[in-house]
């Protein structure tokens, strides 16, 4: 057996590192590996059911639906084996479903929150009820997915929604001083109609730039330096690769929904004021009666904590809890501490309410 040289040639080392960096920056990591089956579709939306691994008698009774944002792929919830929230929940005995909104095309530019909350979500939830044979359901919404689930929960309180989990939910837009996005999209500087007239949907490149420009040094420099510093550590490299695959895989946001996000929420804070109209119905948060857990990331620069706190005082739920966790917008669910803190807390909260 050939022995490794005592001192590596520095040129060879750098060459090896560059190869690794090139590989992880130009290829896609194997992600979303938890076995699942497609159970329902509508337009671009797909509802997946994850194959249970726990025997039926030992599973939690109430199924759980996961809903992610509109402008990113939802497989961040099932990033890679060993670091997957979905895999964790399935292992804990939940009947887990994921609603993937898909990438809207030019033909979907008219899609609004109205369509997502009153057409897609009720139909998907009906399908879940039929498949699971249970008339109740728990829903977890993350980021803009949390806006959609909150609107749905307030508009359809009698639709069998038992538990509602909101992760980093941007719901309160009243504190303008802490909202960088709010400042950028102010009507003085940003003409949303002009952008949508040209593009139809909100282009993913613009959304990606907006998210990264909030922390430019971390996103454009620090992220790559972290990879370079740890390029000899396969665990860090593979984790970085999976995350980079997700970060680069952006999708457009339907024009109608983006306009509502900017005009109704960022500019006019209509949800919290009780003025948001969805297909002629006023969204009254006091009608939301499901058990509520809202998870706040203390270091979130995309959805600052002030956006997720006040929902608790507005809803009509008797059972409600705010859980604060250290971390960023995405890090609380995918970072090193996620499987030690965030996931177990959500699981325990849900387990007590899924009997």
């Amino acid at each position: 057996m050939a022995q490794a040289p005592a001192t590596m040639d520095p040129t060879a080392t750098i060459e090896e590192r560059l190869k690794t960096v090139t590989r992880v920056m130009t290829s896609k990591a194997p992600i979303a590996q938890t076995p699942k089956e497609l159970v329902w579709t509508l337009n671009k939306a797909k509802l997946y059911r994850y194959v249970p691994v726990v025997p039926e008698g030992e599973r939690h009774r109430v199924p759980l639906l996961l809903i992610f944002a509109l402008m990113n792929r939802p497989y961040i919830l099932d990033l890679r084996p060993g670091n997957s929230f979905v895999e964790y929940l399935v292992g804990q005995g939940y009947d887990v479903y994921l609603l993937d909104w898909g990438a809207p095309g030019p033909e979907d530019k008219h899609l609004k929150f109205d369509d997502y909350t009153l057409e897609y979500m009720p139909r998907a939830i009906r399908k879940i009820k039929v498949l699971s044979g249970v008339e109740e359901v728990s829903v977890l919404g993350w980021c803009i997915g949390a806006i959609l689930t909150t609107i749905y929960a307030a508009l359809r309180p009698d639709d069998g929604l038992r538990n509602l989990i909101l992760l980093t939910a941007p719901l309160d837009f009243s504190d303008k001083a802490h909202l960088t996005f709010g400042r950028w999209t102010d009507e003085k500087y940003f003409d949303v109609d002009k952008v949508l007239a040209l593009f139809g949907n909100m282009p993913p490149e613009m959304i990606d730039y907006g998210a990264k420009a909030l922390k430019p040094v971390e996103n454009y420099i620090g992220n790559y330096l972290k990879l370079w510093d740890n390029v000899d550590n396969p665990q860090v490299v593979e984790s970085w690769h999976a995350m980079n695959t997700w970060v680069r895989d952006n999708i457009p946001m339907a024009g109608g929904a983006f306009r509502q996000l900017i005009v109704d929420l960022y500019r006019n804070d209509r949800l919290m004021k009780g003025e948001l109209m969805i297909r002629g119905e006023r969204v009254d948060l006091s009608r939301l009666r499901a058990n509520l857990l809202t998870v706040i990331a203390e270091g979130d620069h995309i959805t600052p904590p002030c956006q997720s706190e006040s929902i608790v005082s507005k809803v009509g739920s008797q059972d409600k809890e705010v859980y604060r966790v250290r971390g960023g917008h995405i890090g609380i669910m995918t970072g090193n501490g996620a499987h030690k803190r965030t996931w177990p807390h959500i699981e325990q909260w849900l387990a007590a309410r899924s009997k």
């Binding site: 329902w40 509508l42 095309g105 102010d186 500087y189 952008v195 430019p216 040094v217 620090g222 330096l225």
Partner: protein
């Protein structure tokens, strides 16, 4: 040096100091830039840049679309608007199918409920029937040989009937209207509208 010591002793990294300095410098830059992008000035500048881009790009959009539309029409090919219309129709068809699926699910559920009622009725009537068949036609004298052979014929069917009745009552009450003892059965003519 033993192997354990060699494993635990950290090799001096000549780049460590450089990395520390670099990170401190980046931290400082990060804080400054986060503050910078969170100002009205940045919002105004980025808005102006975007507006400039849109102003330049917008005039080309409509002529380009018109030219493409004319070309496609001349080639007798569908335009993007045609595809968009088609996609809208497909989505509508999907919704109609989903509505039908929901109706079918409701029908299936109702059918399953009916089946379970029928099964419960059958279970309730079967022990009663078998009990009636098993019941002696003539009273048997106590202590006789025949009485010794028959193992309590009436007791089991009666309890079975009660249990079945209990199970059936809420289901039956939901579906069948109450009928008083003196009421005459209503005969419905299928040809005439009942409403």
């Amino acid at each position: 040096m033993s192997e354990a010591e060699a494993g635990t002793t950290k090799q001096p990294d000549p780049m460590e100091k450089f990395r520390e300095l670099r990170d401190a410098y980046l931290d400082m830059w990060s804080k400054n830039l986060i503050d910078a992008v969170n100002t009205e000035g940045y919002a105004q500048a980025s808005g102006a840049a975007l507006d400039g881009l849109l102003t330049v790009a917008a005039p080309f959009k409509e002529p380009a679309e018109q030219a493409m539309l004319k070309t496609l029409q001349q080639l007798n090919m569908p335009s993007s608007a045609d595809f968009a219309n088609l996609a809208g129709r497909f989505t509508n068809v999907e919704m109609v199918l989903d509505n039908l699926d929901a109706k079918l699910d409701r029908i299936e559920k109702a059918f399953t409920d009916l089946l379970s009622v029928a099964r419960a009725r059958a279970e309730a009537s079967e022990p009663a029937k078998s009990a009636a068949e098993a019941a002696p036609v003539e009273p048997v004298a106590p202590g006789s040989a025949e009485a010794a052979e028959s193992p309590e014929p009436a007791a089991a069917p009666k309890s079975a009937r009660k249990t079945a009745q209990k199970k059936l009552t809420p289901l039956v009450n939901r579906r069948t209207p109450k009928r008083t003892a003196n009421a005459k059965p209503v005969r419905r003519n299928a040809r005439k509208g009942t409403r």
